[in-house]
Amino acid sequence: MSDGDPASPGVSGEPRERPPDSPVVTTTVRLLVPFVVTFGLYTMFHGTSSVGGGFQGGVVVAAGVIAIAFAFGLDRTGGWLRPGALVVLPAAGVLGFAFVAGGPLVLGAAFLDLSAYPVAKAVVFGVEAVELCIGATVATTVVLLFRSLGGG
């Protein structure tokens, strides 16, 4: 949260030095988050065969990351959670989607015609690749939203 910029009011005033939550929270989070993130990744990867997909998986993964960040205090998460850095992955996700979908154009087929790829079961892999791009974009954006809104 850059509050050095005079043009727009620094929203959070002084960066708040919040101590990490009580040990109950931190241990619970430390135990819980690996399973949350695994479930999120499972949902993201198996969008084609079972319920779920990029959006649901991305949000669940983001919930895990946010639980860590808020339980252990935002300032301890170091540089990689700064909003400026966080916006790079969604941009990459959108770019990935555009390239996977634009590939068939180069191969002479229509946009997003995934069957044009010369790979066996091209559509299934194509759909899963797109799901991953969506998952990356959604997960990182949700973390970015909390990071920006949460301030500190």
Binding site: G84, A92, V94, L95, A98, A110, F111, L112, D113
Partner: protein, 484 residues
């Protein structure tokens, strides 16, 4: 070759992903990337427009599916005109905002996403995909309004967000009813199936009203216009000019496209009372917009209320249900976009020079900023409807068609709004040229880009006016399914 339609939408999106990534290394990369992308988009749009004029509509269905299953994108002459308008206005807006507007990486990204959303609306032929792109353009517009540095920017942006999202959701409910009634989302398939379902079916009637009200909110027809004056007053001057030119204009185009391509003229003919209702709403907007503009003391709010009235004329043209009326409405949409954008740019230049907000503070501006004032005066006269500027021809065709079809209320409203606009704009011109103000501080330096953009718009308004006959002839074949 018809894949160019998809590239029209994908190009600004891909370009919008660049600034945040590159700005991690290089600073001040926002504006250059946006300028490069807008130039490429303008080139592609004009090329597509030229191909459509030469070889007829471009059409493609995403993933090569049959239209009833996939999403159809198509550019005919009507779409091409608006795609070119969006691209050119996008590039023109960047010339203005070299200093004023979005310089930061996120700002440039959102500006390009706004162009992508608006271009998407112009090319899709699927009523749900139209909703998605309405929300892309909407979300970008809400955030860009919040860029204003005054205290009123965030509240104005939130008010615009709330009203705009309610409107988009009502449109979505209309799409839901269309799907429940016909099982289709593609406009061409909808046209056939609505005929079989019957034009008096309750769901179809409800869908038409919901779509009209939803898009009416995005067009800011009276009484759901309240977001527009606040938003245009609070946004940075460059952003206001682009929003004024494109957002409501493309929403009005969307209404024309959905009504003509999905519901078709047969639906309008089968429901005269419904169409008369739409016309009455348009007439109410024409008159109310003009009356509300009269007492305005701040220039931007004056121009915003004038927009409410002018868009009423465009919707009235559609609601006449004749080819001439629709053509008049469409030409008025294109002309008004150019003139209103230029008027906001020129007013913004004077505003930046003197930190002037109200009409009175514009007094004697012509003496020190002759070029910007001349551009503003020309564009304001165009907005009133003085030939040969393009503002005259759109109104003329709508009024002519209204008289021919006996829609006296519409014709009277167009004339009354012209007279009222003469009244409230004359006040502005009088301040600019006839009022002397001693001890006028010399204006702050204003970038040549800002002044040039006003002049460019004035010349474009004149050019479009002189070429209005060719424009009408070019667009005429694209309006079909309605009596002449």
């Amino acid at each position: 070759m018809s894949d160019a339609v998809v590239v029209l939408v994908a190009l600004p999106v891909v370009a919008a992903t660049v600034p945040p990534v590159v700005s991690r290394r290089v600073d001040g990369v926002g504006w250059p990337v946006a300028a490069a992308a807008a130039t490429a988009q303008t080139a592609l749009a004009t090329w597509v427009g030229w191909r459509v004029l030469a070889d007829g509509p471009l059409r493609t269905v995403v993933a090569g599916l049959p239209a009833v299953l996939g999403i159809e994108l198509a550019v005919d002459r009507l779409s091409a005109a608006f795609v070119v308008l969006v691209a050119v206005a996008g590039l023109w807006g960047l010339a203005y905002t070299r200093r004023g507007g979005p310089r930061s990486a996120p700002g440039a990204s959102l500006y390009l996403l706004l162009l992508a959303g608006l271009t998407g609306i112009c090319v899709v032929r699927d009523v749900f995909t139209l909703y998605v792109f309405l929300e892309i353009a909407g979300l970008a517009a809400y955030a860009l309004v919040a860029l204003g540095d005054g205290r009123d920017a965030a509240p104005a942006a939130l008010r615009y967000l709330l009203v705009g999202t309610v409107g988009a959701s009502l449109y979505l409910l209309g799409v839901g009813y269309l799907y429940v009634a016909t099982g289709a989302l593609n406009m061409g398939v909808l046209a056939d199936r609505l005929a079989t379902v019957g034009y008096d079916d309750r769901l179809v009637l409800a869908a038409f009203v919901l779509v009209a009200v939803g898009l009416g909110v995005k067009i800011a027809l009276f009484p759901v216009h309240t977001w527009k004056p606040d938003a245009y007053q609070a946004a940075p001057p460059g952003i206001t000019a682009v929003l004024a030119a494109l957002v409501s204009t493309v929403a009005a185009y969307a209404l024309v496209r959905v009504v003509l391509a999905a519901f078709t003229g047969a639906f309008l003919a089968a429901n005269p009372r419904l169409v008369a209702g739409l016309r009455a709403a348009a007439v109410l907007s024409i008159v109310a917009g003009a009356l509300l503009a009269l007492p305005q003391r701040r220039v931007r709010r004056l121009l915003a209320y004038s927009s409410v009235s002018q868009f009423g004329i465009a919707v009235a043209g559609l609601a006449l249900g004749t080819r001439l009326g629709v053509l008049g409405g469409v030409v008025h949409l294109l002309g008004h976009a150019v003139m209103k954008a230029g008027a906001f740019a020129a007013a913004g230049t004077i505003e930046a020079g003197y930190d002037a907000r109200t009409v009175d503070e514009f007094a004697d501006a012509a003496a020190h900023q002759p070029v910007a004032s001349a551009a503003l005066a020309t564009l304001v006269l165009g907005l009133v409807g003085i030939p040969p500027l393009v503002g005259f021809f759109g109104k003329w065709y709508v009024a002519l068609s209204a008289v021919r079809t006996g829609a006296w209320a519409t014709a009277a409203a167009v004339l009354l709004s012209t007279a009222l606009s003469l009244a409230y704009f004359a006040r502005l011109l009088q301040r600019l040229y006839l009022e002397r103000r001693e001890g006028r501080p010399t204006p702050a330096p204003v970038s040549t880009g800002m002044v040039a953009s006003g002049v460019l718009a004035a010349l474009a308004a004149l050019g479009l006016g002189l070429a209005s006959a060719e424009l009408i002839a070019a667009l005429r074949p694209a309006i079909e399914g309605v009596p002449p």
